[in-house]
């Protein structure tokens, strides 16, 4: 059987598209971004509780008093968890994706319903889109659309289009043929047959499709968080990465609240917009007995008035409170950045979070406008190579992230290592007295159940462990390496640790687990793990010439283990959403750090202005 080089074909296709169709993707990206920014701005603008009130009035109108109260309670709950802004980001993302999905899927569905050939062509494409694992097209999505909302929207779109098309086609096809024939027999044009007979009758099914599109879009939100869209998906990813069950639960519940609200509202809207649904609902209401107050629904006019009043109030508050709300830049030093924008990408690993937010704080104090975006490792490198972000601080080089460096190194600038060396190791809890070195594991397989709890099988250290380390110490017959995931490994460690059970896991330094638990790194007298990595700062190509000041600071960036672990501990203590507050607290205890890491260049004011001018010129190009 000859090897069919499908992967190569895909690669060259992607390259070709990148070279020749960039204008198209840029256009889509501009549309998506503009659309998303608009909706997001609207949703982020009002006071949370006022917007919750608007949502509640909509629920009241569409479903009744009880639904209105529950909607308000649900959104207030999201606000009280401090997830409001992220929830609105996710909501905007889902709304944009849904609207675009409908604009595409309804016409395609109609077309498929009218032509068997189109239908049989479209069906496998939909199957393909729906079942292809999300990560497979997330990376190309970044290549084509850059990071953040557009990539997230595209990923959601690909996933959520299918039910829209399918349900539209089904809805139209299941309209009684005799009715269509009747319309034709009276001389109706095909267009009017569609608009006056088929679509109105298909509407309940089409609305069920809309509902599915929204639900799938929401379920995709978590995955979209991996490509820097932020929102609740980002929170979920971060929680998973840090094994923060509490945060995971909070953002999960917030997603569920959004999902339930959108689900109930769209299904009620489905009844409301279709003539048949309206009649059925009116009948049901007439038949219903019991407390009317719970099912009381205001007239549409009242609902509109309510929404308008709340919107006006929030608009007024926005104008009045707008000034007070704007971010206060603590410029205790010279204003070097002069509002220049810098984007930092990070993987939700502790050293990444700590160094990223440290730099965010430092750069803001120096007058830069800093945006941070969270990614998975792969998408992070892709984004950096595309120039969507300016730098990232969490590159494990030269060993662990070698594949990424091989692929993208030419498009990146290495600003040097700020921490090192890191190390990879097998680790056991400190309460296992007689296991200190890898050699001690021999003959103790029964103690550990013959298992070494590993992380993702794709991780570099797993390959090293299986192919070299175990063999060097003669452990490969005795132990089985269990592939799992980092969070699963940490959960396993936490469980065993709390019960004082024996366990051996794959771990690396720096890692917060070493500060949270008393653990022992098993010694490696044969040096099988090799020398460690350094934590490197990588910037996009051209960053150091665009911004010599910041890249100069980054090149000189160093942190000691004590500094890093104490900062990580501070951030863990502060909890989600307060990373920057934790950095500020930490900086109070380490006041010298800012000036040491980011010394104000001599004659900064003049030079800074120059920098800005050239940088702007470069960007305009």
């Amino acid at each position: 059987m000859p090897r069919i080089p499908l992967g190569d074909w895909v690669n060259s296709t992607v390259d070709w598209l990148l070279d020749h169709m960039a204008w198209l993707f840029d256009f889509c990206k501009a549309v998506f971004t503009g659309f998303y920014d608009g909706i997001n701005a609207v949703l982020q603008a009002p006071q949370p509780l006022l917007l919750a009130g608007i949502f509640a009035v909509l629920a009241w109108w569409l479903r009744g008093t009880l639904a209105g109260l529950l909607a308000f309670a649900g959104f207030a709950f999201i606000d009280s968890m401090g997830l409001w802004s992220n929830a609105m980001v996710t909501l905007s993302l889902v709304l944009v994706a849904t609207i675009i999905a409908l604009v595409i899927s309804v016409p395609v569905g109609i077309w498929a319903a009218r032509s068997d050939r189109v239908s049989s062509l479209v069906r496998p494409v939909l199957d393909f889109m729906q079942t292809l694992p999300a990560m497979v097209y997330l990376i190309p999505a970044i290549l084509f659309f850059g990071t953040g909302a557009p990539a997230g929207i595209v990923a959601t779109l690909i996933f959520a289009l299918a039910p829209g098309v399918r349900m539209t086609e089904l809805g139209i096809r299941q309209v009684d043929k005799e009715l269509v024939e009747a319309a034709e027999a009276f001389g109706t044009t095909p267009r009017n047959t569609l608009l006056r007979v088929q679509l109105p009758l298909a509407l309940p099914t089409v609305m069920a499709g809309v509902n599915q599109v929204i639900m799938l879009g929401l379920s995709m939100a978590a995955i979209a968080g991996m490509v820097g869209t932020g929102g609740l998906g980002g929170d979920v990813n971060e929680a998973i990465g840090q094994l923060n069950v509490g945060l995971g639960a909070e953002s999960g519940v917030a997603i569920v609240i959004l999902a339930i609200y959108l689900d109930r509202m769209t299904s009620a809207l489905g009844t409301e917009v279709s003539p048949l649904g309206r009649r059925a609902a009116a009948k049901a209401r007439a038949a219903a007995k019991g407390l009317r107050i719970w099912s009381y629904r205001p007239q549409p006019q009242i609902a509109v008035i309510g929404v308008v009043i709340l919107a006006l109030v929030s608009g007024g508050l926005g104008i009045l409170g707008g000034n007070g709300d704007s971010s206060t830049t603590a410029s205790d030093g010279g204003d070097v950045g002069k509002g220049k924008k810098i984007t930092i990408g990070y993987i939700p690993w502790d050293e990444g979070v700590a160094s990223t937010f440290l730099w965010k704080e430092i750069l803001e104090r120096r007058g830069y406008e800093v945006k941070v975006q969270q990614f998975e490792a792969g998408p992070l490198y892709t984004a950096l190579a595309q120039g969507n972000i300016d730098f990232q601080t969490d590159a494990w080089l030269p060993v662990t992230h070698e594949p990424y460096w091989k692929k993208y190194g030419k498009k990146l600038e290495d600003l040097g290592s700020w921490y090192g060396p890191t190390s990879l190791e097998l680790t056991v809890p400190a309460y296992l007295n007689d296991v200190d070195s890898l050699e001690d594991l021999k003959g103790k397989a029964s103690l550990f159940g013959g298992k070494i709890t590993g992380i993702e099988s794709s991780a570099g250290m797993m390959g090293l462990l299986k192919s070299k380390v175990l063999k060097d110490y003669g452990l490969d017959k005795e132990y089985e390496v269990v592939d799992s995931s980092t969070p699963a490994m940490l959960a396993e460690l936490k469980r065993a640790y709390s019960r004082k059970e024996p366990i051996v896991v794959t771990l690396w330094s720096p890692h917060w687990a070493y500060s949270d638990y008393e653990l022992k790194k098993l010694k490696d007298p044969k040096g099988s793990w090799g020398t460690g990595d350094g934590l490197h700062t990588l910037a996009r190509k051209g960053f150091s010439s665009d911004d010599p000041v910041v890249s100069g600071w980054l090149k000189n960036f160093r942190m000691s283990e004590k500094q890093l672990t104490s900062l990580e501990a501070e951030i863990n203590k502060a909890g989600k959403g307060r990373q920057q507050d934790a950095v500020r607290t930490w900086l109070k205890d380490n006041p010298e750090v800012v000036d040491k890491l980011a010394p104000i260049p001599a004659g900064s004011s003049a030079k800074g202005a120059d920098d800005r001018g050239t940088a702007d010129a470069v960007r305009v190009e």
Partner: protein, 364 residues
């Protein structure tokens, strides 16, 4: 009614499947429907020709699969004939563009469906006004005309109801009103009463005949029920396997079936409802049969009434035309014969006391 609104179908063919034109050629040369079916081609209608005069009800009768629904849909262009022409009102419908054809359908031809095909998202009035809406008639006028049509069909007061609130019979009245509201000259009815239960069906047939007396539409009515065909049809076409095997009046079909297939159909028919004095009378008359004071019949007198008459008077019933001239006599023995199975000649009996026919009447 002008002669121009006659409907004429000439050599209509409809073939579904691959290479229909070739199939038509083969059918013209005498190929069989079954031969084509073996190749996956279905000949639904084969060489159908007929004329419907203005104001006539033309019934197409056949079992399912005989091609009658396909034939009907070629008359208003819902299906394009593979070969042949349809002309109505002097216009060749098969030569029209799609747009012109839609125009004709919206103004001149309307249709009533087997399962009513009412739009469930429209009220009864909106349903009845549908054809007018398609024509672009302003709302006020189309609602007025829709209400008139509904009233004509006995649905005054139901205008604001919804189709699913009505019984089957009433729904079909809405279907009929929708078809009548456009003032189309040609009404196509596709098994319109088949889905109704027998009593309602009877009612609807009566109502259609009643309406037809005043409206004088040209109607093509499809049915699989020969009783219904005989009741409604001025002329009847019997279809079998895509071909029209006989066209004629109810009596023609009943008394002079073209072949065994048609004859087998007529066995179940209630002859007494179809036959009239004209069909059973003896035309050899002396001219003085009506000179007594007894009741007489006309050529249109139904069979059942003739039986009643015959039972009352001691001699054959005289049949008079509109000029009160005797045109025939109906003998009791013939009446009984027709109730049985057509025209049989009486045979003589050996028993001297019996007078043959009298005894048979007693038994019947």
């Amino acid at each position: 009614m002008s002669v121009s609104s006659r409907l004429e179908a000439r050599h209509l063919f409809k073939v579904f499947g691959r290479r229909p034109d070739e199939a038509v050629e083969r059918l013209r040369r005498g190929a069989d429907r079954e031969d084509l079916r073996a190749e996956g081609t279905t000949a639904a209608v084969i060489d159908a020709s007929f004329t419907v005069e203005p104001g006539q009800i033309f019934v197409v009768m056949g079992l399912s699969g005989s091609g009658k629904s396909t034939l009907l849909r070629m008359l208003n262009g819902l299906l394009e004939p593979t070969a042949g022409t349809v002309s109505f009102d002097g216009q060749d419908l098969t030569a029209l563009s799609d747009r012109e054809l839609r125009e004709v359908r919206s103004k001149k031809i309307s249709m009533v469906f087997q399962h009513f095909a009412l739009f469930p998202h429209r009220s009864v009035r909106e349903n009845a006004a549908y054809g007018l809406e398609v024509q672009g008639v302003p709302r006020a006028e189309r609602e007025r005309r829709a209400d008139e049509a509904l009233a004509l069909c006995g649905l005054a007061g139901w205008e604001n109801s919804w189709p699913d609130e009505l019984s089957g019979g009433m729904q079909q009245r809405v279907g009929l009103a929708r078809a009548l509201a456009t003032d189309a000259d040609l009404l196509l009815m596709d098994e319109s009463f088949s889905a109704l239960d027998p009593l309602i069906r009877r009612d609807m047939q009566d109502q259609l005949l009643q309406l037809q007396k005043t409206l004088k539409k040209t109607i093509v009515f499809i049915t699989h029920d020969l009783n219904e065909a005989m009741r409604l049809g001025d002329r009847i076409a019997v279809m079998r396997a895509g071909r029209i095997v006989q066209i004629g009046t109810a009596e023609d079909i009943l008394l002079r079936p073209a072949d065994d297939y048609v004859a087998s159909f007529t066995q179940d028919v209630d002859r007494s409802r179809v036959l009239t004095a004209e069909a059973v009378m003896d035309r050899e008359v002396r001219g003085d049969e009506a000179d007594c004071g007894c009741d007489t019949a006309t050529p249109q007198t139904p069979f059942t009434e003739l039986c009643a008459l015959s039972a009352r008077i001691p001699h054959p019933v005289a049949v008079l035309d509109e000029n009160r001239e005797v045109v025939g006599v109906v003998r009791r023995q013939r009446l009984v014969g027709f109730l049985g199975d057509g025209e049989t000649t009486p045979v003589s009996c050996d028993a001297p006391r019996d007078k043959g026919g009298e005894k048979e009447v007693a038994r019947a």
